[in-house]
Symmetry: C2
Subunit: 237 residues, 2 copies
């Protein structure tokens, strides 16, 4: 046996915790949060009680998994760059979706997102609200500004639906790739381009019709709840 293969039986707390969290992301994104701590320990080559030296409860471990996968991946620059009016909206959107899909189109992110979504966990609803409030609503404003509509008038339902359609078209390709597991490489640049073009093309008539009709539904109000991406109610795990 290669002498360099010798792995020390004891690790520093930092290194052990790092490996534990890394494996937990892997494991829970495959098995869901019902996955057992014993099997997780087995895959790490350690015994199950050792997990509890580094995470006080299973819920605590899962919380850190969330943080690592979701929170730390969110880029504040997304919302900032989307609102820099020195370039056409189309360019900004394509650049944004290039970065966004690059951050979230991976097996860990996609699967944990849906596991959490099906469980109705806080982190998931908060994330969707964040996408809605910090990304999609600003995009609607930018679109109005570029087309010369009044930015101050309240957002209409139809405009909001339309921007969600663009978002959904892009996002669904990630679902195909990582949830459906299609047996070939999905071309994301292509779908981003199609989605953005669809949005740009349809925006004028949708905004025009929505603003003309005083009876048209308003988009639901942005959330009042001070939203963070962090907490998970422990009893939901």
């Amino acid at each position: 046996m290669n002498p360099s293969d010798k792995k020390p039986k004891r690790l520093s707390p930092e290194e052990r915790k790092r490996r534990l969290l890394e494996k937990a992301i892997d494991y829970f994104s495959e098995e869901g949060f019902e996955g057992g701590t014993r099997e997780l320990a087995r895959q790490l080559g350690i015994t199950q009680p050792l997990i509890y030296r580094y995470f006080s409860t299973k819920a605590d471990l899962i919380n850190e998994v969330y943080h690592a996968v979701y929170v730390s991946q969110w880029q504040e620059s997304w919302a900032q760059n989307l609102q820099k009016r020195d370039r056409p909206v189309r360019d900004r959107l394509i650049e944004f979706y290039d970065g966004y899909t690059n951050a979230i189109f991976n097996r860990h992110w996609m699967r944990i997102f849906f596991f959490a979504g099906l469980k109705g966990l806080d982190i998931n609803t908060r994330y969707i609200r964040r996408v809605s409030d910090h990304l999609l609503r600003p995009i609607c404003r930018e679109m109005r500004a570029e087309l010369g509509f009044d930015v101050e008038k309240p957002l209409r339902q139809a405009e909001f639906d339309l921007v969600w359609m663009m978002h959904g078209l892009v996002f669904y390709q990630g679902i195909r790739e990582h949830i459906y597991k299609v047996p070939y490489k999905v071309n994301h640049e292509f779908s981003i381009q199609i989605a953005v073009d669809m949005y740009i093309t349809k925006s004028r008539e949708v905004i025009e019709a929505a603003l003309k009709d005083p009876a048209a539904d308003l988009a639901p109000a942005a959330s009042f709840i001070p939203e963070q991406l962090v907490q998970v109610a422990p009893d939901r795990i």
Copy 2:
């Protein structure tokens, strides 16, 4: 108490099994397949061992849930009507998606689909293959025929991706409504119209470019496996 409220303590096997399956659909679509048989029984007002008089194992019960939610909802007329060339493709697509979303945009279908998808269950991959082979590929043929392209030449990747984009745009609105649980009614007719228009608008240039370039990727071959929507490998539950 209203005398008509008196419920008999014993039911006929048919009625009991019917109620059990109905509740199981409800229960597993909320909790996922890890949901316990005791809680299921509790919600039915019966004891847990009674379940095993009507379903030999939990896997057997889940299998019947699948069948009720997926298989029995599939309409053969979808594929048939899509290929009747007496009307424009646009009309056929809109009619199809009206019927399709009407069948699958409900909490049971949507949630069970993703629970099964995350577990990698056969039923789910089979379903996706069925959508691909029986719906989306025929749509691509119809589109080529309407635009006057050669229907016999093999399907290209870009055409296939494009039809999946239309499909994804529509499907994603169901995800928003039933997985994200947005707090308002999503307008499906609107998104269907946008999706179909996007597909029709982009088809000509995509097909043209794909057929012109001899190096363009082909779409993956339709599946050879004799696909059914029925079986679930018991050991995967």
